[in-house]
Point group: C2
Chain length 119, copies 2
């Protein structure tokens, strides 16, 4: 395993705590977009520090984009999945399929009306 290996680099970055749940929450939002406070509300156990750290990382990685709307008051910050980010959701989808097959299945997630991960 070389450190330049594509899989290795991606795993290292995706593997950080809260990255996948965060991408999934954005996916669930309207236009695959949510505000900072909505993310904090929907991921009740994430701390503001980690949330802002992960958001910056994801912007840098090109998976999400930040848009500040300062015409309103108070100003809104919208984070939305880029095309790259949206396509990554299919990887998470694969993870869910695997998980439902092999791990102790969560009935809510199995339902077609799953509001937890909505995949």
């Amino acid at each position: 395993m070389n450190k330049d290996c594509t899989v290795y680099k991606t795993a290292d970055f995706i593997g950080k705590k809260w990255t996948i749940p965060l991408l999934l929450e954005l996916y669930k939002g309207e236009d695959h977009s949510k505000r900072y406070s909505e993310l904090k509300r929907d991921l009740p156990k994430i701390t503001p520090k980690i949330l802002s750290t992960r958001l910056k990382e994801l912007v840098k990685e090109g998976m999400i984009s930040k848009k500040v709307n300062s015409t309103t008051f108070p100003p809104r910050c919208d984070y939305s999945l880029t095309k790259s980010g949206k396509e990554f959701i299919s990887v998470i989808q694969g993870m869910k399929t695997w998980s439902l097959k092999w791990k102790d299945p969560n009935k809510i997630c199995k339902s077609t009306k799953c509001f937890e991960c909505r995949l």
Copy 2:
């Protein structure tokens, strides 16, 4: 995002550092199997502590199995992917496909003769 959500739980576990590279190294081995010392050699930057911690976790999760061969000397410990573990490789495959499309591509990994991730 509920803590019982299948995706959340899987992400939390898969996301731990070295889990994905470790699964991939086992996949690359003969019969999707490798010894402790081979893993340490092929993941030069992993520390023995983390390696043994991750191996225990993966056994507990049912993704790998441990087999001690004490008929030889010195005794060998072989770790191999279970059926569940092998099927998870397709998720990693999806990650690689995504990565090659969207991230700065690694020429070695793009090659069909990729010896880094061999997917």
